[in-house]
């Protein structure tokens, strides 16, 4: 046991160790490949700048075109402080530059993150351009305007027995390599922390990340701030490296080249920007002087970039990994034998629900313009009940579900969950108090494995809406591993836990969909057509699954499969044209004339 623990620790630190070895070896290898020391140093600064950007774009999925704002801010703050002797200690000035960069990131993020996708991209461009203008004229007295700031000193370290004055060339390299190594180690901790897992969940499916109980907006702001901090530090280091802080740190070209270098290297590996910057600077020198292309080097690099986006979206590192993967086929993970569900997975011990109705809905209505989707619905579900909700297409079932889980605000009416009025709450908060839904159309984190998917839900249950535990390993959060194992057994995917969700068969994806809702440990679980699109075999298995998960939980199931729902539910509510048409035991519903008319197209009896 002890031995195995040592192994795990060893494996966790192996990448850091390899990075350190690589950084030590680089000065002995790169010169023979034609890299000058200054170029290598520049690659390190750009690589560090890119680590933050990769966390933002590669892991969280937020494409910012405005990173120059933080690069420039951090750089000029550090340069100004040291040149004017306000903070003579260069390291301290760099730290302050990083903090100011991060703080700027918070402010900009609060504005830019109000929108997503292309809006976000456009706003970041506009903001970064504004920074350039502000730096260039209103603040020219501090930033030197078009001249920049020259005379940035190098750091001096008093190591007790000797004083290390960082010089140029490989002396500077040693300093920058240490900065890079620290930056990389921290970044790897962040990525393997619960926060990193949630970043990836936001990249894959922000809607579901919000629905399983994570405060997505705050995590996005966190990713944005982290990226800004890395940019601020890199900007400061650029000043130290050159002894001069150039005003073009603030230009759109800085942001653009960062993006291009990251895409050339590959996103989602943290090392992508480093590799990309190396390729970029090497090709630039080679094309400019080697081939004598002069100014046309950027044209060639632009064409290479476009081709990469078209054909090699994962960049150079991604391409190499794919090649290695092709040459060495992994263990077969063909989805042929879907494992049968275990006969009985033990239900987790959960506290007895408080007495009284779990859900109480009064006078719930929802209008879309002139259309009344839900009209004055009263609906009560007792603890431990399995309630079926049926109704013809367009009866308003999905709208009804969306209002209960607070994905959609009602036009009128109240919703009480365990005695608490949750009308107008946020979907995240509702999930946090134990009410969630599985979706009619799968809403999964498709690039993540089954285990990682369930972890996203389990983390929300274990950690709450938002926590800043960026240095803790996601697997070390108490209770999460057990919750994942339990849910895997429940949905019968233990043997497929480490397969990417995109590689699963449809029926398996459907079970992950239910598993995502289950892993957030709900008291009340809503299932929107859990059997939709399944084969008869899969239906039978899923019905068995529903029987098992109802133990200790309250379930409301919308379903079109009448045989299944009449066999499962104790009570059934029939919705028709936005109203409750009937409510009763399956036998009463089957006997109801009104229900028969509604389904067979007769007149609706009021």
């Amino acid at each position: 046991m002890r031995n195995r623990d040592t192994m795990t620790v060893w494996r966790a630190f192996l990448p850091d160790l390899l990075t350190a070895c690589g950084l030590i070896a680089a000065p002995f290898i790169l010169p023979s490949l034609g890299f000058a020391a200054d170029t290598v140093n520049r690659i390190l600064v750009l690589g560090l700048f890119g680590i933050g950007f990769d966390i933002l774009f590669g892991f969280t999925g937020l494409l910012s075109f405005g990173q120059s704002a933080f690069f420039g801010t951090g750089g000029f703050v550090a340069a100004y402080l040291t040149i004017n002797g306000i903070i003579p200690n260069v390291m301290l000035a760099l730290v302050i530059g990083t903090i100011v960069g991060a703080a700027t990131g918070v402010l900009v993020g609060l504005i830019a993150l109000r929108r997503t996708g292309i809006y976000f991209a456009m706003i970041t461009v506009a903001i970064a351009e504004t920074f350039f203008f502000v730096e260039n004229s209103p603040l020219a007295a501090y930033t030197g305007g078009e001249n920049g700031l020259s005379g940035v000193p190098s750091p001096v370290f008093n190591l007790g027995f000797v004083t290390w004055r960082v010089g140029t060339g490989y002396s500077m390299y040693t300093f920058l390599a240490i900065c890079f190594l620290v930056g990389m180690i921290i970044a790897r901790r962040i990525i393997h922390s619960p926060v990193g897992a949630i970043f990836m969940a936001i990249r894959d499916n922000p809607i579901r990340a919000r629905a399983v109980g994570h405060a997505v907006e705050r995590y996005k702001l966190l990713a944005f701030t982290i990226a800004a901090a890395y940019a601020g530090l890199a900007g400061g280091l650029l000043g130290v490296l050159q002894g001069y802080m150039p005003p073009d740190a603030f230009t759109f070209d800085t942001s653009g080249e960062l993006i291009m270098q990251t895409m050339i290297g590959g996103t989602g590996f943290l090392f992508g920007p480093l590799a990309g910057a190396a390729v970029w600077l090497y090709l630039r020198d080679f094309l400019q002087s080697g081939l004598g292309l002069g100014a046309a080097w950027k044209l060639v690099l632009g064409i290479i970039f476009v081709l990469l986006i078209c054909f090699l979206r994962r960049g150079v590192i991604g391409g190499v990994i794919d090649l290695v993967g092709l040459a060495r086929p992994r263990r077969s993970s063909a989805p042929t034998d879907e494992e049968p569900l275990p006969a009985d997975a033990p239900p987790k011990k959960r506290p007895a629900p408080p007495p009284g109705p779990v859900l109480e809905v009064r006078g719930l209505s929802r209008r879309f313009g002139g259309l009344v989707a839900n009209n004055d619905i009263d609906f009560t579900v007792e603890a431990g009940e399995l309630r079926g909700v049926i109704g013809p297409n367009g009866a308003g079932k999905s709208t009804f579900f969306k209002m209960i889980t607070c994905e959609m605000a009602p036009t009128a009416g109240t919703i009480r969950f365990q005695g608490r009025d949750i009308t107008g709450w946020d979907v995240t908060d509702v999930c946090q108090i134990g009410l969630t839904k599985s979706y009619q159309v799968n809403q999964l984190f498709t690039k993540l494995t089954v285990r990682q998917n369930l972890a996203i839900s389990a983390l929300a249950a274990a950690r709450g809406r938002f926590r800043l535990d960026v240095l803790r390993r996601a697997t070390h959060v108490p209770g999460v591993t057990a919750q994942i194992a339990h849910t895997l057994a429940l949905i019968g995917l233990t043997g497929r836990a480490d397969v990417a969700v995109s590689d699963l068969a449809y029926g398996e994806k459907r079970r992950v969909e239910i598993g995502l809702a289950l892993a957030s440990e709900p008291t009340l679980l809503l299932l929107d057509e859990p059997l939709a699109g399944m084969s008869p075999q899969e239906r039978a298995e899923t019905v068995q699954l529903l029987r098992r998960i109802r133990v200790g939980r309250t379930l409301i199931v919308v379903e079109h499969d009448m045989d299944a729902i009449f066999g499962l539910a104790e009570r059934i509510t029939v919705l028709c044209e936005g109203r409750v048409l009937a409510d009763g035991t399956p036998l009463e519903i089957q006997a109801s004339k009104a229900v028969q008319d509604a389904y067979l197209g007769g007149e609706v009896v009021e």
């Binding site: 929108r115 653009g256 970039f305």
Partner: protein, 291 residues
């Protein structure tokens, strides 16, 4: 410094700049609204229109023909770009579309740099529009008055295409719900090709109209692209009337602020954009469902 004639002439400058931004932005917004692609190479289209017009002018010495030549040149570039590259990106995530058009913009700029060099080129205004015009107490460059007129006509033409033709009907339906249009049995891809061409041509046309005012350089489109973004964010993405309103607002902000202190004009533009984002995130005339 703050005199009435000065203020009025700045208002006119703002109107001319605003009209120009409105035309470029409406091209960007129509492409986005229909195809769902934000074209980051739009600034390069503006620039290539200017150079296309410049070349035509060199050969024909006719400004009117230069307008036609520059626009046609960008129309063709737009259609070819859509056919060769953009259409393979409709099914890819929006980030990929941003990246590929961003790269394309750089390729265009560098190609033009390779062909024409980095030095700025001047196109002189046509004889019939040079000189100054006296309007009561105001003396104003004649060509800028023409700019307003020409762009007003161009916007009207764009309006007619969008609101009075079959293609325009499909485009507007596509902005609402492109999936539904596809299901109605209309070949949306043919329409997409045309829309991309027309949207690019709008920017190209603006490029040559603006050439006598602003010297041509390969990266003249970069600044315009950023301003166009602000216009679209203020007006509402995908909204043609929003682009026009946003363009005029942005033009006036830029020119009135620069009357007091030119270095703050861009900052002021950003302040207004932030206010719009805080108070009405979907833009002044945008639909709330679009995010």
């Amino acid at each position: 410094m703050l005199s009435w004639p000065n203020f009025i002439s700045q208002l006119f400058n703002g109107l001319a700049l605003g009209a120009l931004l409105a035309l470029i932005s409406s091209g960007l917004t129509v492409i986005y609204g229909t195809l769902g692609v934000l074209n980051l190479a739009h600034g390069a289209m503006f620039m290539m229109g200017g150079y296309g017009g410049f070349v035509t002018y060199q050969y024909t010495h006719s400004f009117a023909l230069a307008l036609v030549g520059g626009t046609l040149c960008v129309l063709v570039i737009g259609v070819v770009t859509e056919q060769v590259l953009i259409r393979h990106f409709y099914r890819r995530p929006p980030e990929d579309q941003l990246l590929v058009t961003f790269g394309l913009g750089i390729v265009f700029v560098e190609l033009v740099r390779l062909g024409f060099g980095s030095l700025s080129l001047q196109v002189s205004p046509p004889e019939w529009a040079s000189g100054i015009t006296r309007m009561g107490f105001l003396i104003y460059p004649t060509y800028r008055l023409y700019v307003m007129g020409i762009i007003a006509v161009a916007l009207a033409v764009l309006y007619l295409i969008l609101y009075r033709t079959r293609i325009g009907m499909i485009v507007r339906a596509g902005i609402e719900d492109s999936g539904m249009v596809d299901m109605l049995g209309i070949n949306v891809f043919r329409v997409f090709m045309l829309v991309f061409g027309i949207g690019a041509a709008a920017a190209g046309f603006a490029g040559i109209v603006d050439a006598p005012v602003l010297p041509l350089t390969p990266d003249m489109g970069d600044q315009i692209l950023v301003e166009t973004f602000v216009v679209v964010v203020i007006g509402g993405v995908g909204s043609f009337p929003g682009a026009i309103l946003g363009g005029l607002i942005a033009g006036e902000i830029l020119s009135i602020t620069s009357m007091f202190n030119p270095s703050y004009s861009q900052v002021m533009l950003f302040v207004v954009m932030t206010l719009v984002l805080l108070l009405r995130p979907q833009g002044l005339l945008g639909q709330s469902s679009r995010t």
